[in-house]
């Protein structure tokens, strides 16, 4: 006999939930952090280019556990080879190296690759982004084609799921039963007394709507400008399709000429050539006139450009936008400020228009996409 005592046992651990609970809390914090950083995350390349991938990785810096530590990249580390290592052998390279050139500013002390990456589905992210977005100025009088689902608790039944117990009615039933048996008051609650709420899915019809996505694809729109415009439209399309069932979206691209494109083409193809923004407004007006009667439809138009328009065309644009305002619930114009300085941009010309239904934004960098979404789709309360 060894003299040392020992026991061995196997307990029931099913109630030990601490790890799971703290994990949940961590997850909550990740969500909060993502919400706080939506502006940066919205235009993450990995999302816009994700091509339907469902789970994406989002960098969350604020969940790092900060403490005083050494600069990892300036430290000497130890490793172990397989017997043949030599001084000068390369063990690995930082992927950051290649990217560094592309990123503007911010380089330097940021260690870059060691932040926490949260997994999130695009749907979850979309939900956060769209939480308080909506189509503004929706006019309910128009043809009700646009529907959205809603859940309503309408009925009371004797069977149901326990989270839906209707406490008030259950107590009432118990009281009633006791009173009937001649012993008024509340005693025990029996299976018989339980009442449950049940819900119905109801389709809430809203007015029908059509949204015109208009993008400048001329030569002056560089990769950055196009990327910004597409990020915006990416979320816009997703948002409209998530929240409304029958909204129609038309895609119009233009350089000196405007044409209607397929959704895929709109998001992938580049063009070149000169710019005449009026062309797209003309096309929009034509489309509206031919296919979407303002009496039946809520009409929205959003145009993104770098503002580098043929200056003789600017006046015409102003006139056409005013035309459009007569038939649209809202017209939005987003200008992406490129690296060049233009004395006269389309936006300057648009300053003349004084109509609350005409909304403009300027976007300087990636973090401007989210505010633009919020400005254009401000819920009218």
């Amino acid at each position: 006999m060894s003299g040392t005592k020992y026991t061995v046992s196997r307990d029931d651990w099913t109630l030990h939930r601490k790890g799971e609970i703290d994990r949940q809390r961590h997850r909550e914090k990740v969500r909060e952090a993502i919400k706080k950083n939506l502006a940066d995350i919205v235009s993450e390349e990995s999302i816009i280019m994700s091509d339907g991938q469902n789970i994406i990785k989002v960098p969350v810096r604020s969940l790092d556990e900060y403490h005083f530590r050494f600069n990892f990249k300036k430290q000497k580390h130890a490793g172990q080879g397989n017997g043949k290592s030599k001084v000068g052998d390369v063990l690995g390279s930082d992927p950051q190296g290649a990217k560094q050139g592309k990123e503007k500013g911010g380089a330097g002390e940021e260690p870059g690759n060691d932040y926490y990456e949260a997994d999130i589905t695009i749907d979850e992210l979309a939900e956060m982004i769209f939480e308080d977005l909506g189509l503004p100025n929706l006019d309910p009088k128009k043809k009700p084609e646009l529907s959205s689902d809603s859940v309503e608790f309408k009925d009371i039944r004797k069977k149901g799921i326990s989270s839906n117990i209707d406490r008030k009615r259950t107590l009432y039933e118990a009281l009633k039963r006791n009173a009937l048996s001649g012993k008024p008051g509340l005693r025990s609650i029996t299976q018989e007394d339980l009442r449950y709420k049940t819900w119905d899915m109801t389709v809430k019809y809203e007015s029908s709507a059509v949204v015109l996505a208009m993008m400048d694809t001329s030569g002056s729109m560089g990769p950055f400008e196009k990327y910004i415009a597409r990020s915006f439209f990416f979320w816009m399309v997703r948002f409209l399709r998530t929240k409304y069932q029958n909204v129609q979206i038309l895609f119009l691209a233009h350089h000196a000429l405007a044409h209607e494109t397929s959704e895929e083409e709109f998001f992938t193809k580049g063009n070149s050539g000169g710019t005449k923004c009026s062309s797209v407004y003309e096309l929009a007006l034509k489309v509206i006139q031919e296919r979407y009667s303002p009496a039946d439809y809520n009409i929205y138009a959003f145009h993104f450009s770098d503002g580098d328009n043929l200056s003789s065309d600017n006046e015409k644009c102003v006139r056409l936008v005013q035309e459009m305002l007569k038939v649209c619930n809202m017209v939005g114009y987003g200008e992406i400020e490129g690296p060049y300085y233009y004395t006269s941009t389309l936006r300057t010309a648009f300053n003349k228009i004084n109509n609350p239904e005409f909304v403009t934004v300027s976007i300087r960098d990636k973090s401007g996409v989210y505010p633009a979404l919020k400005k254009f789709f401000k819920q009218s309360s």
């Binding site: 005592k5 994990r23 809390r25 403490h67 172990q80 397989n82 063990l91």
Partner: protein, 485 residues
């Protein structure tokens, strides 16, 4: 199920008596078989009973994900306690369990006998549980978010304790300088004598007019006293005692985290030795118990997994094991030189490794016992970042050994001391990083400052070195600033 338990019990019985034959010395053992989730929880928290915090949830998530994707697997978890708690992974095969049990006994022997563990509380399971209970009660009382964010702050500074605080400090001496008092002031002399330690100290307090001494004429420098008198390594203790605006519950939290860190510290500073020792013993013991062929193959596979190494990090199990084996060999059959120079008679291998396990920590272990031959045999090297590449820069055995030893200083955390708790005479906190050739991560430093500020309540400063120049980083609760000194 019950049969399993009986088999495990038999194995334990056998392995314990084998370990005893080998003169391993451990506490009574308490084995618990539990599911993976639970082992991962314990792994993330370091202790089954520890308080709740999202950072543990994060660690747990990471470990669990790796497990779910089969990227890594821990087989066991041992706790430095008396009796010693060890958790075995449910679903381990019997051979796996045998190896784990043998390994665990090695750990427990190490916990019980290594000098660094001498002062660790063997009742930490219980005290962490009661701390967790208190923290939970604070959450009820003051709100979860408030308690959580205070924990965030304290945790961000948790490495800054003094693991040597059990070593007796020199006696405190109040510095009283003789400046301005040319001896004419009798009361000063009395006061000074008072401050000398003597068996009659208490007599001096009979002197009634204590407060009136030095009533002006004698301009003894009052402010010469530094605060703290000597640079203070135990930042948490300093904050606990001196941060002005903390509530009792906040001080309690600081002291909880500090106690837990003091408990975990010896494990961090003996990682290589402890894993090496446990691996050494599971190898020895497994060799002596009967395994059938299938078991032997399974064991060999698993053992190879445990001892596998990577090019960019060292495997403590492997490194520690190799050094222990090497020591044993060299003391059992010393070379001619060793015989002559050190008078090593030979045959002392076992005795020597038991002595080493009792007296060293990782730093001294490597410094004293990592030899040229071992560095070459294991093909150890140093590497660092050059441009965007990570390159091997050094294979000279002494450089490699010293590099390793240096990296382990202060458990690889920056050594930072509290230099002044009344900086600028405004109660600001002045810390100093004892720079030893490696710069701090500035981004992280700036993100840590707000935590420090939240606890101290006044501007905080940290002196360190960047690009070979002394620099003072400051944070005033609002902005960071940096100036070269």
């Amino acid at each position: 199920m019950a049969d399993d338990l009986i088999l495990v019990e038999e194995a334990i019985e056998k392995i314990i008596s084998k370990a005893k034959e080998f003169k391993l010395d451990f506490y009574d053992m308490y084995f618990e078989i539990c599911p993976a989730d639970i082992i991962y929880t314990f792994g993330a928290y370091g202790m089954p009973t520890r308080f709740s915090h999202w950072t543990f949830g994060k660690a747990y998530h990471k470990m669990k994900t790796q497990y779910d994707y089969n990227l890594s697997r821990i087989y066991e978890m041992v706790i430095n306690s008396d009796p010693c708690y060890a958790f075995l992974l449910e679903g381990n095969s019997l051979v796996q369990n045998k190896m784990v049990i043998a390994h665990v006994l090695g750990h427990c022997d190490f916990f019980k006998n290594n000098a660094r563990f001498k002062h660790t509380s063997r009742y930490m399971v219980e005290s962490m549980s009661s701390s967790a209970e208190r923290i939970r009660s604070y959450e009820f009382k003051y709100g979860r978010d408030q308690v959580e964010s205070f924990l965030d702050s304290v945790i961000s500074l948790q490495e800054h304790i003094d693991p040597n605080h059990y070593i007796k400090k020199e006696k405190k001496q109040v510095k009283t300088q003789k400046k301005n008092c040319s001896g004419g002031c009798g009361k000063c002399v009395i006061k000074e004598m008072q401050q000398k330690d003597s068996p009659y100290d208490d007599l001096w307090s009979l002197e009634k007019n204590d407060n009136e001494s030095c009533s002006g004429k004698c301009k003894r420098e009052q402010n010469v006293k530094k605060f703290p008198e000597k640079p203070e390594k135990d930042m948490l203790l300093f904050l606990l005692h001196n941060a002005k605006e903390l509530d009792d519950w906040q001080r309690d939290i600081i002291s909880i985290i500090r106690d837990e860190m003091l408990y975990f510290w010896p494990q961090m500073e003996t990682k290589i030795m402890n894993e090496g020792w446990a691996s050494y013993w599971h190898t020895r013991i497994m060799r002596e118990i009967d395994l059938d062929e299938a078991e032997a193959i399974e064991y060999a596979k698993m053992n190879a997994g445990v001892l596998a190494h990577s090019r960019v990090s060292l495997n403590p199990y492997y490194l520690g094991l190799k050094i222990f084996e090497d020591i044993e060999k060299r003391w059992d059959s010393p070379g001619e030189e060793e015989k002559e120079k050190y008078g090593r008679p030979g045959g002392q291998g076992k005795q020597k490794i038991f002595e080493v396990r009792a007296t060293e920590n990782d730093q001294s272990f490597l410094r004293n016992y990592l030899t040229k031959e071992l560095v070459e045999e294991l093909d150890l090297y140093l590497f660092r970042r050059i441009g965007y590449d990570w390159k091997i820069t050094d294979k000279n055995w002494e450089d490699v050994r010293d590099g390793l030893v240096n990296n382990l200083t202060n458990c690889s955390f920056p050594y930072i001391v509290v230099e002044d708790g009344d900086y600028n005479k405004q109660g600001e906190l002045y810390l100093k990083h004892c720079y030893e050739g490696v710069e701090l991560d500035v981004y992280y430093m700036e993100k840590t400052f707000p935590h420090l500020f939240r606890i101290w309540g006044r501007p905080v400063h940290l002196e360190t070195v960047l690009d070979n120049k002394a620099v003072l980083h400051s944070y005033n609760g609002d902005k960071h600033s940096r100036k070269y000194m």
